[in-house]
Symmetry: C2
Subunit: 304 residues, 2 copies
């Protein structure tokens, strides 16, 4: 089987880990969000790609849900003492990766090459592709003004209500090498239980990725990030209510209009109706077993 | 009193700490070597400036003699796992400073401004100036070829015998702002017990610094880095033997011909004769008290 997954960080990375554990090595290609990338302290940070890498490599801090296990924070503490901002948390082991990536990018390597090299060095059997090697950045318009994604999400703790989401660079962004081929060759396309606006949206903002999925031959299945009409973590519940008018499965499905054939929803959100086929299961990923079960359920849906 | 000290790292930083402890706040200006600066992992590292900063700020690891106390090494270990070289040891807290400095330099700030800001943030009362804001780098020609300083010193453990030392960039390097004024206004000029070729040499390679010291009105006093004809640490003994023909006080004094009036030597190197006045004392800096005593002895020599 060849499976393509569109994913953000957090829940997407857990779902990717579940998929990788039930698929054979090499069967999974993850296309990751880069809309929340940022440059800070001269480092290029790709939080979602890194969550995917760390999750698939078994390096992620499972309690925190991001960054590396067994982490220390001395470099950031020191940088702060020398006048640097410390609102974006970077651990020492994490910084080691960012140093290597920033150096490679400055030498002119595309992000996809750098990511492939990291994957190889981590011994991860799945592919992780950035949606694009071009600069694509998420901005939110809120009740308190317009902010770069991380400034709002981390810096302002995503407390301001969001009225709109924009992806700077979407006009010129092209799919990273391999992404369109992977979609074309896929036996199923999956959209992870990630935020449709903030995590999956920036991937679908890359016009040739969107076109490839619109013109798909394989089935496309999204896993709803809601459980009982609420986001497991993060601001999605408030965003859907304010921007889409509600948090039912149909409100999620409409975010992916024309892009999915099936929406996998949690038992707590059933019964429901939507413009696509709904599949009901337990979607909450509490542990490794539930990640595997959700991955298995999504794959079974794909292969109907 | 206004004292100018020319210094490398290591012994120079200890001597600077001794001087700072016996002088009033603000009386000491240190002009530091930048010939052993390097770019690694996208960071600009100034080992000698940092040893001075860490020593004067009380942050240095006194056992190791370089880098910060209470240090961890997770970022470098991680970077290595992602394919980066790890031959140059950078601790996590140290990296915090390098991140801040590299970012400021990329924004176009001169090294002297960045250093002044670090000094201010550390609450250090002495001034530390890089010899130059221009790129000046030490290269050694050895029996095994020509190497950039750190490649030979750290990477090859300074095992290859040195036949010559060159300072790339010396033609265009100008003294950093404040250095010439400090020399002109000084009541005494001191040369730290640092390696004349590798630590003090790159400072004196800056032509207007050399000219300012040659045309000095104040007395200029060097402290010999030798004890009993041998370097306390490092390759100086072998270098002097091979390149200067011996390791007596006079062999040291001739490295500074026209630039010093006095050479402070250790009791183990007396009696001796040299082309300049010799002052004999105990020069080995075993602890904070001996640093203070040596500083006091050098200052008394200056004020004769």
């Amino acid at each position: 089987m060849r499976i393509v997954l569109l994913s953000g960080g957090g829940g997407g990375a857990r779902f990717a880990r579940g998929l990788a554990s039930v698929l054979a090595p090499g069967e999974l290609t993850v296309i990751g969000n880069v809309g929340d990338d940022l440059e800070i302290l001269g480092l290029h940070v790709s939080p979602d790609l890194d969550s995917l890498l760390y999750a698939l490599a078994g390096l992620i801090d499972t309690d925190r849900g991001w960054g590396r296990a067994d982490e220390s924070w001395n470099a950031l503490e020191s940088a702060k003492s020398w006048g640097a901002p410390d609102w974006f948390r970077l651990g020492d082991r994490d910084i080691g990766l960012h140093l290597v990536r920033a150096e490679a990018l400055r030498r002119g390597a595309p992000l996809s090459d750098v990511t492939a090299d990291l994957i190889r060095r981590a011994g991860v059997a799945s592919a992780i592709l950035p949606a694009t090697d071009d600069r694509l950045r998420t901005f939110v318009t809120t009740s308190a003004g317009r902010f770069a994604f991380q400034e709002w999400f981390v810096g302002r703790r995503h407390e301001d209500d969001v009225d709109g989401v924009e992806y700077e660079g979407l006009e010129s962004a092209r799919a990273a090498p391999g992404a369109l081929d992977a979609i074309a060759a896929a036996d199923a396309i999956l959209l992870a239980p990630s935020n449709p606006y903030l995590s999956i949206g920036p991937i679908l903002a890359v016009s040739d990725i969107r076109a490839a999925i619109e013109g798909r031959s394989a089935r496309s299945i999204a896993v709803s990030p809601l459980v009982g009409g609420a986001a497991v973590t993060g601001p999605l519940g408030r965003m859907l209510s304010r921007m889409a008018g509600g948090t039912t499965p149909d409100h999620v499905a409409r975010r992916y209009s024309g892009l999915i054939d099936v929406l996998v929803v949690d038992e707590a959100d059933a019964p429901a109706t939507a413009e696509v086929e709904l599949v009901v299961t337990q979607t909450l990923m509490r542990d490794f077993d539930s990640e595997r079960r959700l991955a298995q359920a999504a794959l079974e849906t794909a292969c109907v």
